[in-house]
């Protein structure tokens, strides 16, 4: 095991200002073990008193080698890794990956599967925003929010568990459809969520939206203009809180999002408070989408019947020789994808989540790359942190909603 590398100020010359070398300003490490960096992020701060002059993020403490690991597995097996990438949005990652594979091998997905995908993806977005709300409010010392948000989150995890047997890492969405159809209890469970959650959002609003402590800590802090966001490649709620109306679900609809009627909330201010409002409104819109999708959930199969790429149903294996052969082929060799490359993006709770797949014609992806929103959003920290107080920096980190698994991969 390598030991921690000792670094002198001279080694940091290219990162910090002249004053730090002369000892006029202070260099301070925040993280990698710090309660408000939301994981293992390390920030090197150059401070003048309590004012941040420079903020240099140091990432990679959670580098997992997910991309390389996926390249060593066949297309179906690689999907398991994708859940663990952005662990607040496992269903969204599955969706992005499955859609990329479907595009590559030209698979059709039945409409029922598409609708269920949308429901689960929106519930996951809600769940991710809940965890964000709980932890970001905790950073601003609002302890009770954390407890409320995690109470609600359990309802959504129950639905996930109902469908897939797992609470977080579901791997339920598969290339070509779903693993299996949803159980009969699914509808009642989701309806229960739809009934109780709007009231709960009102409760959060009552606690936070007009709370003077909250306003003091967030109004005008961490401003980003729409143009700066675009320059940094910032996407998702952060971009929309800076006044740019860009949401892949609207601008490039996928998986049937064009059928649903929902708003894309935006705010012009671009500060921490605006991001809070945008996310809260997104939670409402997510519920709206779930309700519409559930109301017109079509019947039918949930998996493509192209057995060259999708395993045949279990019941057929016993009676059909062909099904048995397909099954055997798929689970031993996998399928060969045609040569080519594909980029597919979905709207994750944090922004544009893209998968780039390159195939050399074999059963395994030749190269797979994830364009993760947190990574790009994190790049804007040095800009936002200039001149703020250390306490405000905590609020800013919270407002980006970074997931370190997403940043470091």
């Amino acid at each position: 095991m390598p030991d921690i590398q000792e670094v002198t100020v001279d080694d940091l010359k290219h990162l910090v200002s002249e004053k730090a070398i002369q000892g006029e300003t202070m260099l301070l490490n925040m993280g990698p073990q710090h309660p408000s960096t939301h994981g293992v992020l390390r920030l090197l701060l150059e401070l003048d008193g309590e004012t941040v002059i420079n903020c240099i993020p140091d990432i990679g403490f959670l580098h997992t080698g997910i991309e390389k690991n996926m390249e060593a597995k066949t297309y179906q097996k690689a999907e398991v890794m994708s859940d663990r990438l952005d662990y607040m949005n496992p269903v969204g990652n599955n969706l992005a990956y499955s859609m990329a594979v479907e595009k590559l091998v030209e698979l059709d997905v039945p409409v029922r599967a598409q609708a269920i995908r949308v429901i689960l993806a929106e519930l996951t977005r809600y769940q991710s925003h809940l965890v964000w709300l709980g932890t970001a409010a905790l950073d601003l010392a609002a302890m009770s929010m954390f407890l409320y948000c995690f109470r609600e989150r359990e309802y959504i995890l129950d639905v996930m568990e109902l469908c897939s047997g797992q609470r977080m890492m579901t791997t339920y969405i598969r290339p070509g459809g779903l693993w299996r159809d949803v159980p009969v209890e699914f509808e009642a469970a989701v309806r229960n969520i739809l009934k109780t959650f709007p009231k709960r959002i009102d409760e959060y609003e009552a606690l936070l939206t007009r709370n003077p402590l909250m306003l003091d800590r967030t109004l005008g802090i961490g401003r980003l203009t729409g143009e700066e966001c675009l320059n940094f490649g910032v996407t998702g709620p952060m971009l929309r809180a800076s006044g740019v109306k860009w949401d892949l679900r609207k601008t490039r609809p996928y998986s049937g999002y064009e059928q649903y009627d929902f708003e894309v909330p935006t705010r012009p201010e671009g500060d921490v408070y605006a991001r809070f409002l945008v996310r809260l409104e997104e939670m409402r819109q997510s519920l709206k989408i779930v309700e519409q999708a559930l109301n017109k959930l079509p019947m039918g199969p949930v998996r493509s019947n192209n057995f060259k790429f999708v395993p045949p149903p279990r019941s057929e294996i016993g009676v059909s020789m062909e099904a048995l052969i397909h099954h055997f082929k798929l689970w031993t060799d996998g399928f060969n994808a045609p040569k080519g490359s594909i980029y597919n993006a979905v709207e994750s709770p944090r922004g544009e989540l893209g998968v780039y797949l390159e195939s050399d014609g074999g059963p395994k992806p030749y190269r797979i790359h994830w364009r993760t929103p947190s990574f790009d959003n994190l790049q804007s920290i040095p800009l936002m942190a200039k001149g703020v107080l250390v306490a405000d920096l905590v609020a800013i980190i919270g407002s980006i909603d970074i997931v370190l698994g997403d940043v470091d991969r």
């Binding site: 921690i4 073990q33 890794m81 662990y87 977080m168």
Partner: protein, 161 residues
């Protein structure tokens, strides 16, 4: 009600120092607030309203290693993080315990590659392993209770040796 009933009418209890110490250690164990990856979210769930680990004297997470007794390694440990983790462990005061939460921390899990330490026991001594990817909050609580059993069994004579 409660402890008064057990005291009888004398207001005195007799016990051994060993038992009293173990009892107090298990009822106020302060874990280090230290999340690495996905498992940390389930650790947070275990702490939050539904599972409420404070029932077992664990409501106080300490962000400073110097104030904590228990390190819950929740998530995959990368090669870059391993020395940091060891330093955190070294900073914790004795007696200290480690729970390795999840498959990644216990054995590398699904990530058998260049970046992930194949089991945190390469870096720090582990007392309890909790399996699962991620383990359910109940599983973590079970791991904690298993650790309590271990702590209750600690004899002073063994420690002094």
């Amino acid at each position: 009600m409660g402890v008064e009933q057990k005291l009888g009418n004398m207001g005195v209890v007799t016990t051994t120092l060993e038992q009293a110490v173990a009892w107090s250690r298990t009822n106020a164990m302060w874990p280090l607030l230290f999340g690495l990856a996905c498992c940390a979210i389930e650790m947070m769930s275990a702490q939050a309203s539904h599972y409420d680990m404070s029932r077992f004297g664990m409501e106080l997470m300490r962000p400073s290693p110097r104030q904590s007794d228990l390190m819950i390694v929740a998530g995959r440990v990368s090669r870059k993080m391993a020395p940091v983790l060891r330093r955190l462990y070294d900073q914790m005061p004795e007696p200290k315990w480690v729970i390795s939460m999840g498959d990644c921390a216990s054995c590398g899990g699904v990530f058998n590659n260049y970046a992930v330490v194949q089991g945190v026991d390469e870096v720090v001594p582990v007392d309890v392993y909790v399996a699962g990817c991620p383990p359910r909050p109940e599983a973590l609580i079970h791991g904690v209770l298993t650790l309590y059993e271990k702590v209750r069994g600690i004899k002073f004579a063994d420690v002094q040796k």
